[in-house]
């Protein structure tokens, strides 16, 4: 279980980092989204992995650490808002700069019309 979760987080982070280093804002945005998924998973398991444990006190014998669940909810909401802002900004940048490259320069002039 731990190994599975660790591999999943690692794979997401790796893909996220790879996409972050791409030149186009769309790929970078996908990379950021993947990175934030990995981070959210990481926060979620930071309280330890338990199976069959309730989130509410008194509802079951064993219970999971509730704080990481609260933290991850906050992180998801914030990440969602930030991604939405970034999408709008990227569209605006596409309109202003005439291409969707992060540095706005065009690939050595080839992309310019």
């Amino acid at each position: 279980m731990e190994l599975f979760v660790a591999i999943a987080i690692g794979a997401l982070t790796g893909c996220g980092c790879f996409l972050l280093l791409r030149g186009r804002t769309f790929a970078v945005m996908l990379g950021l989204t993947m990175l934030s998924y990995a981070v959210n998973l990481f926060i979620f398991v930071s309280g330890g992995l338990t199976t069959g444990a309730g989130a509410v006190l008194g509802a079951s014998e064993v219970y999971a650490d509730p704080l990481p669940q609260a933290l991850v909810l906050t992180a998801i909401v914030i990440g969602f808002a930030m991604t939405a802002f970034l999408v709008v900004l990227a569209i605006r940048a596409r309109a202003e700069l005439g291409n969707d490259l992060v540095d706005g320069q065009g690939l050595a002039g080839k992309e310019r019309k």
């Binding site: 972050l20 804002t25 970078v28 950021l32 990175l35 934030s36 981070v39 959210n40 990481f42 926060i43 930071s46 309280g47 330890g48 704080l67 990481p68 933290l71 906050t74 992180a75 914030i78 990440g79 808002a81 930030m82 802002f85 970034l86 900004l89 990227a90 605006r92 940048a93 202003e96 700069l97 992060v102 706005g104």
Partner: protein, 494 residues
């Protein structure tokens, strides 16, 4: 009432921003901006009251909703956080005044965003909990994204895109560090964490170390530490003047977080990891100073020059904090207040000068004579004297204190040298800029210039506030020394 005072610098700006967002049934912007200024005055009064209340008093914890201590959301008002809140609110008030000269109508929602930014900044200063530090960072960041593209334009959008992307990656790393710290220490309550670091199993030290490295990366990005500074010159010089002036305090948030979090977690008695990151800050800060000085001398326009000065002040602060010496940290606090205000003055001044030179703008080439040459010339000369550190201005007092505190240390020789050298080169760069703009002008002044009485007033007000740091010098120095003393006492657990 007074015990709830601590939460007001966060609640009030949020409320004010919401009020300013309401549709106001046809009231014109020229009227609404004064409402914003009036509300900002209320924030300033509250911040001043808070400063007054907390001078010479022990740190006070405020529990939101009265939940018991390690579980509820905690705000801590000690001398350091209250000082930061006050200095930021003073700056925000002056920026609000400055924006009424016309910056606020270049795009939508300037005033609500400014109030939200103030809320995020105040929250980041007052929180006693690492996760809430993250939340308030995000509040201040999303307002700053909105403010940065305020007014629009090609270059502005491009620099904003870089700023937003970098900060989003920074936020992801911050969350990673938080999750790692939580799984190691079982809490994100700062004072509680500081106590548990000392009890940590030595075999898990490397995990703590990697979390600390991630935090250092995040705060270094905010504070523009050398390899992480690339966003600063572009973002600051492209932003509109009011926004850039407000951003003068943003790098200081990174420095503050470093003092607060690293000072608490890795205090001198924290065991194996005591003083973690200090060497890196020391050398990173020193190199930032060198680079900023080069940028200062090489700047082609006044805005780039101002951005280089912000970078220079960040370098000076980071190095001073890196020594981990309480006398130097106290001196750095005074320098922090001084440099935030004077940094803002330079962005405002650059815009005023650029407006009166037609197409030449604020580039450092000979252009038309200025319409208000006398007023702006005096303001330029005064601000230059303040930022270089000539007596009797705040730059002199804070720099001489930094020198005085670093001279007894045998390992601080290079710091003294860099501080003096960067001041000398700032003198050269500013004299060159001033003589080009004011003395080598040709042609008649351009008549149709935007009047900016409130902008000039904001510049003068910030200069006067800076001068008050000198007039009440004894009081301020004592305040900074007390603030640092309180920090080291607070770091030893509750």
């Amino acid at each position: 009432m007074t015990e709830h005072l601590v939460v007001l610098p966060i609640v009030l700006p949020a409320l004010f921003a919401a009020i300013l967002l309401l549709p106001m049934g046809g009231i014109r912007v020229s009227r609404r901006r004064w409402y914003s200024l009036a509300l900002m005055t209320l924030s300033l009064l509250v911040a001043s009251w808070l400063l007054w209340q907390h001078t010479n008093t022990p740190a006070k914890n405020y529990l939101l909703g009265n939940w018991p201590e390690p579980f509820g959301i905690l705000l801590v008002a000690d001398q350091l956080s209250v000082l930061m809140v006050w200095l930021t609110t003073v700056l925000a008030w002056c920026v609000c005044l400055h924006s009424t000269a016309g910056d606020d109508v270049k795009g939508a929602y300037f005033h609500p965003l400014l109030h939200f930014l103030l809320m995020g900044l105040n929250g980041a200063f007052l929180t006693g909990d690492l996760f809430n530090l993250f939340v308030f960072f995000e509040v201040l960041l999303i307002s700053s994204y909105g403010l940065l593209i305020h007014g629009g334009g090609k270059k502005r959008v491009q620099s904003a895109l870089h700023y937003v992307l970098l900060n989003l990656v920074g936020s992801a790393l911050f969350l990673l560090a938080l999750a790692l710290l939580y799984s190691l220490l079982g809490t994100l309550h700062l004072a509680e964490m500081a106590a548990r670091v000392r009890l940590l199993d030595p075999q898990q030290q490397w995990l703590l170390q990697s979390a600390a490295a991630l935090l250092l990366l995040v705060f270094g990005l905010k504070a523009a530490l050398l390899p992480l500074h690339f966003w600063l010159p572009a973002a600051y010089s492209q932003a509109s003047a009011s926004v850039a002036a407000m951003f003068a305090v943003m790098t200081k948030v990174g420095v503050y977080s470093l003092i607060r979090v690293f000072g608490a977690l890795f205090a001198a008695d924290a065991g194996a990891l005591a003083g973690y990151g200090q060497t890196l800050l020391l050398w990173g800060g020193g190199l930032t100073m060198v680079l900023a000085t080069v940028l200062l001398v090489a700047a082609a326009d006044l805005k780039k020059l101002s951005a280089a000065m912000v970078l220079l002040s960040a370098g000076i602060l980071l190095s001073a904090v890196g020594f981990g010496d309480s006398a130097l940290t106290a001196a750095a606090l005074l320098y922090l207040v001084h440099s935030s205000w004077i940094g803002a003055v330079w962005f405002m001044l650059a815009e005023r000068i650029g407006q009166q030179r037609g197409t030449v703008g604020d580039r450092l080439v000979p252009g038309a004579a200025l319409k208000q040459a006398l007023l702006l010339g005096w303001l330029f000369a005064l601000s230059a004297l303040v930022v270089i550190g000539m007596p009797p201005f705040s730059g002199f007092v804070s720099k001489i204190w930094l020198l005085q505190a670093s001279l007894p240390r045998s390992d601080a020789g290079w710091y003294v040298l860099l501080l003096l050298l960067s001041s000398l080169l700032a003198l050269v760069a500013l004299s060159r800029a001033g003589s080009t703009i004011f003395w080598r002008s040709r042609g008649k002044p351009i008549d149709a210039v935007q009047s900016g009485k409130t902008a000039d007033a904001a510049i003068m007000l910030l200069l006067v506030m800076g001068f008050l740091l000198v007039v009440a010098g004894q009081w301020w120095m004592q305040y900074c020394i007390d603030a640092v003393a309180q920090l080291t006492v607070g770091g030893r657990g509750r």
